[in-house]
């Protein structure tokens, strides 16, 4: 059967808050190809929501719709109780939705600290002159922002590489820095596109622990795409399953695990 963890994890079944993000009948096309077919699901405040499915199921496209990188042809995105008009990715980010990428997108030339600080850009509004000359509001702001950034750095245990240029870091740490940058913005909703892809077992365990810590200590709502079923079952409160752009399952890890259609999608069915 499915390669899943036997222990569903202590977090499951806990009560989460109200609907934070609601996707209604989303359809996304690229030319004649329908990447997402009429999908609806919601993400509740404070939960960890996983999106799973075989390769090419449309998971990343879904995440890109939420973060504004793709604009769906049909359907509505409701965030924080109001319908979201079509938006540019940077506007979505300013609304409080942060994300990481499947193929790490970091500022290679900057240090870890600078990278994480970019997450706070939108929280800064002192005048340019004041920032350049480093007085007054800019100074207070920078100190405040640094404190917040240091907290994130602390949670993710990357203090020792704060001053290292990101380009020199190994893969696993880069993933962690990207997570730190997304968190620095204090997002309402954090989107993680395969946070554990390409990691070894130990790194995966670390990353899982960080994701749980973030959810727990900062109360951040998290939506994540992940292939490792064990990880998904351990981490998430609810799971959406996609296949060929359709939604084929939605519910708690246990429900999803026992869903026949989901099992078929993963193991394949004979068509004779």
């Amino acid at each position: 059967m499915l390669d899943v963890a036997t222990d569903p994890g202590a977090d499951q079944g806990r009560i989460t808050g109200e609907t934070l993000l609601d996707l209604r009948n989303i359809t996304l096309r690229f030319g004649g190809v329908e990447a997402i077919k009429n999908i609806s699901f919601d993400i509740r405040e404070g939960e960890i929501r996983a999106i799973i499915g075989p390769n090419g199921a449309g998971k990343s496209s879904m995440l890109n719709v939420i973060s504004g990188f793709y604009v769906p042809q049909e359907g509505e995105v409701w965030f924080n109780g109001s319908r979201r008009p079509p938006m540019k990715p940077y506007e979505v980010a300013r609304q409080g939705i942060a994300r990481t990428f499947q193929n790490i997108a970091l500022f290679q030339g900057m240090t870890v600290l600078d990278n994480v600080m970019t997450g706070r850009l939108n929280a800064m509004n002192a005048g340019t002159m004041s920032q350049a000359l480093w007085f007054g509001k800019a100074r207070r702001e920078e100190v405040e922002n640094r404190e917040k950034v240091e907290r994130v750095i602390d949670i993710l245990e990357i203090q020792h590489i704060r001053k290292v240029p990101v380009g020199r870091l190994p893969y696993g740490l880069k993933k962690r820095v990207e997570l730190a940058r997304a968190l620095a913005a204090e997002p309402h909703l954090l989107l993680l596109d395969e946070p554990m892809a390409g990691m070894n077992v130990e790194e995966k365990e670390d990353m899982s622990r960080f994701i749980l810590d973030v959810n727990d200590e900062l109360g951040t709502t998290i939506a994540l795409i992940e292939h490792d079923m064990g990880v998904v079952m351990d981490l998430s409160d609810r799971v959406v399953v996609m296949d060929y752009g359709r939604k084929i399952g939605d519910g708690s890890p246990d429900e999803v695990r026992n869903n026949q259609e989901v099992i078929d999608a993963y193991l394949g069915v004979s068509h004779d």
């Binding site: 990188f69 940077y90 997108a105 500022f107 030339g109 970019t118 850009l121 939108n122 340019t128 350049a132």
Partner: protein
């Protein structure tokens, strides 16, 4: 000290000053290239256009004067006032910001995600358009530009060196002020890019567009900002060249001299643009002085390009450019 050595030193110093101007133009290229990956062929013409606009505003010229007179049969010849240099510089800057905004709105925004060569072609078009526009707006005659910078022989240097070596160096005051202003400009740019929010956003966009979007940076805003800064750098370069040799259309050709500078310094490095500019400035003057007489002179026309060619062969990323390492 033998005369020959003293001459050489004087030539070198003058080369440094010329190099500062090359560096200024190259700096404009680097800024835009870093932020958007566009090689802006129009940078030299922007310097020309800025200088033309500055002179036009200072002398109270009516824009499109000739055109208006031809079309409407009027006889307008200027507003009849003159504008003080500082105010004119500010107004010119406003024009350059509007230009930056228009370039983004009308050209670049429609070419997002196109191949670099297409963007490059677009800037070539832009260069010719801007040259024509400058001609139509302000006329094509050579104009003197005097914003009040000190000019002529620096007597202090002349006397000091004469007392020391028995030979007075001829250094132009204008070159000295150009060097000081360029240094201030670069210092300002460094502070801006390292310590301000906009600077941080600019560096972020230069590094990774996708990541920049994901932290809430508007690419359009940053591009307008970059082109405005490049416009400002062009204005400063235009003022210097204009004050030195008059505002004329050959000014746009200095853009070509910035190419070898960039090949030396690397397309992505601000210190590279400066050091590259200085090396080319000093190199071509010294080469002309030492080798010129042996080969019949006029080496300044080609020296920079040959040097760039040598660099392309042995160090294609330039002195300070990022080395490209492809992982296979």
């Amino acid at each position: 000290m033998p005369d020959q050595v003293l001459f050489a030193i004087e030539v070198m110093l003058n080369g440094l000053m010329a190099g500062v101007l090359y560096a200024l133009v190259a700096l404009g290229f680097v800024l835009i290239f870093k932020a958007s990956g566009i090689f802006n062929y129009a940078q030299g013409v922007m310097a020309l256009f800025a200088a033309l606009t500055l002179v036009g505003i200072m002398e109270g010229q009516v824009p499109f004067e000739h055109l208006i007179n031809v079309v409407f049969g009027t006889e307008i010849h200027g507003f009849g006032w003159t504008v003080p240099a500082l105010l004119a510089i500010i107004l010119t800057m406003v024009v350059m910001v509007i230009f930056a905004w228009l370039v983004n709105k009308l050209v670049l925004r429609h070419l997002v995600n196109q191949e670099p060569i297409i963007l490059f072609m677009a800037t070539i078009g832009l260069a010719y358009f801007l040259e024509g526009l400058g001609d139509m707006m302000w006329g094509s005659d050579i104009k003197a530009l005097d914003v009040g910078l000190p000019q002529g022989l620096n007597t202090w240097i002349d006397e000091t060196t004469f007392n020391l070596f028995g030979y007075g160096f001829y250094i132009d005051n204008l070159d000295i002020s150009a060097a000081i202003i360029a240094a201030l400009l670069v210092a300002g740019l460094v502070v801006f890019s390292q310590y301000t929010k906009q600077g941080r956003a600019l560096r972020a966009v230069a590094d990774d567009h996708q990541a920049a979007l994901s932290v809430g940076i508007s690419l359009n805003y940053i591009w307008v900002l970059t082109w405005s800064i490049a416009g400002f750098v062009a204005l400063v370069a235009g003022i210097m060249w204009g004050a030195k040799s008059g505002v004329q259309f050959s000014l746009s050709l200095i853009a070509l001299k910035a190419l070898p500078v960039l090949m030396l310094g690397g397309f992505t490095s601000i210190p590279g643009a400066i050091v590259g500019g200085l090396i080319i400035g000093v190199g071509e003057k010294l080469f002309e002085f030492l080798v010129g007489p042996l080969v019949g002179g006029a080496t300044e026309n080609w020296f920079a390009y040959v040097l760039a060619l040598i660099f392309l062969v042995f160090r294609p990323q330039g002195l300070f450019g990022e080395r490209l390492i492809e992982r296979v």
